[in-house]
Subunit: 130 residues, 2 copies
DNA sequence: TATCAGTTTAGAACGATTCTAATGTATTGA
DNA sequence: TCAATACATTAGAATCGTTCTAAACTGATA
């Protein structure tokens, strides 16, 4: 609580009531993949009625400060990942769930990128069946 | 023209004027990545004023028949790929462009999938910088 | 404590996609 | 050949996740 406020201030984010609640939930030590909707549902469960606008604002503010990573997995919603290290994912479309792959994976046989283009990062998405 | 009609009939798709125009454009031998919007623009260039509703219907009909693959690259739009073989992509966010990677790539160091889950397919997306 | 920049919020706006229901057309079989 | 009909096209409305707006509120600072 006290240290979450400090943590937010360090990132030049005012520790408002809403941001403290959201940061406490997101950065509790367990990596999470949330959407605005799943986060809103979690907050409602813990009786924190925070408006959707604030949830979107806060996710983007945290993203801007490097506290979250954005994942573009499908065209239906944006996922935010509390694991900001470079890593890969298992994805179950059926469960709409992502699972981190933190081990080192190597992609071999990659062709040269097109002229004047540089590789930024390689993302591996492992689709699960069931 | 004649053989596109035949091609559509083989897939149980009535060769209507609009479907023939769209199929001729998409399956001209050059693999393409289109969105409803980019396809609409191309059709306008060739003076074919086909309604957006028909473009969406046709893309989905072709997808249902296995003539197109759907790519979920970002949360802004759905891409359809005329290359229906399993393959990977370079992606330039700046250009909003996809480039096929058709060579065999291998991903090593992949961990076991979670209990009761089976790997369906592995997708590698190589993000380009500029 | 007063000030004020930054924040929250409800609700409107937006944009990609899907739906609706009226109109049009490819197919077919008499 | 040509109606009958099943399927396709279309404009515009609806939907839904997300962003914007502008008014009310609040944390930081002096
Ligand atoms: Mn989730
Ligand atoms: Mn394209
Ligand atoms: Zn992750
Ligand atoms: Zn492709």
């Amino acid at each position: 609580m006290k240290d979450i406020k400090h943590f937010l201030r360090q990132k030049s984010l005012r520790p408002t009531k809403q941001r403290v609640i959201i940061a406490n939930y997101l950065f509790d030590g367990v990596n999470k993949h949330v959407t605005a909707e799943t986060l809103s549902n979690e907050l409602l469960k813990m009786k924190a009625g925070i408006s959707l606008a604030t949830i979107y604002n806060t996710l983007h503010d945290f993203y801007e400060k490097g506290l979250l990573k954005k994942l573009m997995i499908n065209s239906e919603r944006i996922y935010f990942d509390t694991n900001t290290e470079h890593h890969h994912h298992f994805y179950s479309k059926k469960d709409q769930k992502l699972i981190d792959i933190n081990v080192d994976m190597k992609v071999s046989g990659l062709p040269k990128p097109p002229k004047n283009k540089k590789i930024n990062k390689i993302e591996v998405l492992v689709h699960l069946d069931n």
